[in-house]
Amino acid sequence: MSASPAALAFAEASLLARARRRLAGDRVARACAAVLALVTLACLFGPLATGHPYDRLYYDYPGTPPSLALYPKPDAVRPALDRLAFRMRVRAEDVSVTGAAIRATLAADKPVDPRVLTFFARSDTFGEARILGRSEDGRRLTVEAPLRSLRFLAGTDALGRDLLTRTLVAGRLSLALGLMATAVALGIGVAYGALAGTLGGRVDAAMMRLVDILYSLPFVFFVIMLVVFFGRSVALIFVAVGAVEWLDMARIVRAEAQAIRRRDYVRAAEALGLTTAAILRRHVVPNLLGPVVAFAALMVPRVILLESFLSFLGLGVQEPATSWGVLIADGARSLETAPWMLVVPAAFLVATLLALTLLGERLRDALDPREAA
């Protein structure tokens, strides 16, 4: 039986190769795959490229709308300097902006302590200040400070955090949760369903009765209850979502396993003298693969949606971590003042869900052996 894994791999490869060929010829599928790849790459590497830490608060720029413009804007430099001067307890005089820097003389009634210049570096408008000159009595200090150049492509939220960075970081969590919860549900569901479908008889009846009972419970409510009562950790959401989704998987796998076991080719394999394990490995599992892969592909968007739903209700991911659902909830609360806070994360979520759903549906069709002929 040494060649058997290779043969199985061959059977799978042929199935997947056929599916891939069909998907490659499908424009919608290609577009969906491109969108998904783009979103994934952006979420993974984007936060490094935006130049903003996702939790940095820019006190000077709360609620900035999305634009390509550089901040600070020229007319905002003087007021910012005045605000800064007020906090340094000095007056700003002879202000001139030269290129990417500002030159000013700080005047006060007492000698100016150069240590106040750290205010510049801590501000969102200026960089580290340099002393150009100083009057003899020390009451006038001429300084030069570079202007920062910040871009908020997707604007900032009400606390002045860069929305694009936050959306991309949130995407990491949503995507990872979607994939992992699907994997959990898949593992439990396939094992449970395959066991019930293969054992059959009374064990099967009892196992499926349990699934029926669990089905009759209003399950999303139990998820909510779990999350509310046992704390709002990512791990728990994970368990909760997996616990809801494995039921469908178990049902599908069991129905398919039973149908496959009734096929003549399984009878023929039994007549050839194959062991039950070999029949499972060579005939049942490869033929189960299509529906399982397709169902799993469609489960990912459902899981992402469920997580977003919980986060939207405030029951999901907690600050400072964030997910698309959290951002959308924030956005919905500041609709009137900052509609982009809703639109940007919603666009990411919707694009991802749509791409996953369409791709999953096409994958399901492509993996259907009846269609492959």
């Binding site: 209003p218 209850m225 009562f229 949606l305």
Partner: protein, 307 residues
């Protein structure tokens, strides 16, 4: 038939019992209690409250009392909303949720079957593709995105409709919530209706009927009845979901329905409200599923063996 209905109702009692039992103990497993406020109550007052609500008894006794009360149809007092019983809370919230859900159901049924029929009749044409594509959108875009977008478009920009509030059910206030609720349902029903009709058109008996030279009126009767089954059996659980309110829609539009009771009750450790909501939803699901099953049996004689 009557015997069948009675038997089905009797069969739903164990399900209800399991749901209530599981919920009861799950709720009690949670840390915290209904009277944990930011500023703790004096011990004596706390004791008093616990005694008044029977929380000082052993858990099993409380469980038994709750079941006994439930059997009498008594859902108990709310722990978080003073001076109101859970039943009274439902009496306030249900009309709101049921109005919204009922309207959404109606809209979804009319639009969904219409679009589904159109796309089945024009199979493969651009209209069919358009309906399918829009359906995927409507199904994929979640309600908590649709609702705020509608608020931006029709409330804040165009200023045609209010962004929220109930206002005693004024029609203007109903439009956006109903649209949000109905949108995914329209898509599902359109899909089911299309699939059902296409299946009828592909069946051999459809060729028989057309070969008889029957007028369109009679053909339509046969087509509709043949395609109705999946739609009707979907409507049972869908109606239960819609009529018992939606957390998202009621939160976003600020509506006083029962949709928020569960989440609020759970957050406030309002045990009776949480359990009451679970019972309410379970009853709706059981009854409406029964109604849907009966309707299916009416449509399809092969389902009439009420064994």
């Amino acid at each position: 038939m009557t015997a069948y209905i009675l038997r089905r109702l009797a069969q739903s009692v164990p399900t209800l019992f399991i749901v209530v039992t599981l919920s009861f103990f799950l709720v009690r497993l949670a840390p915290g209690g209904p009277f944990d406020l930011e500023r703790p109550l004096p011990a004596a007052a706390m004791e008093n409250l616990r005694r008044v609500y029977g929380l000082d008894q052993p858990l099993l006794v409380q469980y038994g009392r709750y079941l006994a009360a439930l059997a009498r149809g008594d859902l108990g007092p709310s722990f978080s909303v003073r001076d109101l019983s859970v039943a009274e809370l439902f009496a306030r919230g249900l009309p709101v949720s049921m109005t919204l859900g009922g309207l959404a159901l109606l809209v979804a049924l009319v639009l969904g079957t219409g679009l589904g029929a159109l796309s089945a009749l024009r199979r493969g044409a651009w209209l069919d593709h358009a309906v399918t594509t829009l359906g995927t959108f409507a199904l994929t875009v979640p309600g908590f995105v649709v609702a705020p977008l509608l608020q931006i478009a029709f409330g804040l920009s165009l200023r045609w409709l209010p962004v929220g509030g109930w206002d005693d059910g004024a029609p203007r206030n109903l439009v956006l919530p109903v649209v949000t609720l109905a949108l995914p349902q329209v898509a599902v029903i359109a899909r089911l209706a299309r699939a059902g009709l296409v299946e009828v058109f592909d069946r051999p008996h459809w060729r028989t009927l057309r070969g008889l030279g029957l007028p369109p009126r009679i053909l339509a009767l046969h087509a509709v009845r043949g395609a109705a089954l999946p739609v009707v059996s979907y409507l049972g659980p869908a109606a239960a979901g819609l009529l018992t309110g939606s957390v998202v829609v009621e939160t976003v539009f600020g509506l006083p329905g029962v949709g928020r009771y569960f989440v609020d009750g759970a957050i406030n450790r309002d045990y009776t409200l949480v359990l009451g909501t679970v019972v309410l939803i379970a009853v709706f699901v059981l009854v409406l599923n029964l109604v849907a099953d009966l309707a299916c049996a009416l449509i399809d004689p092969r389902l009439r063996e009420f064994g």
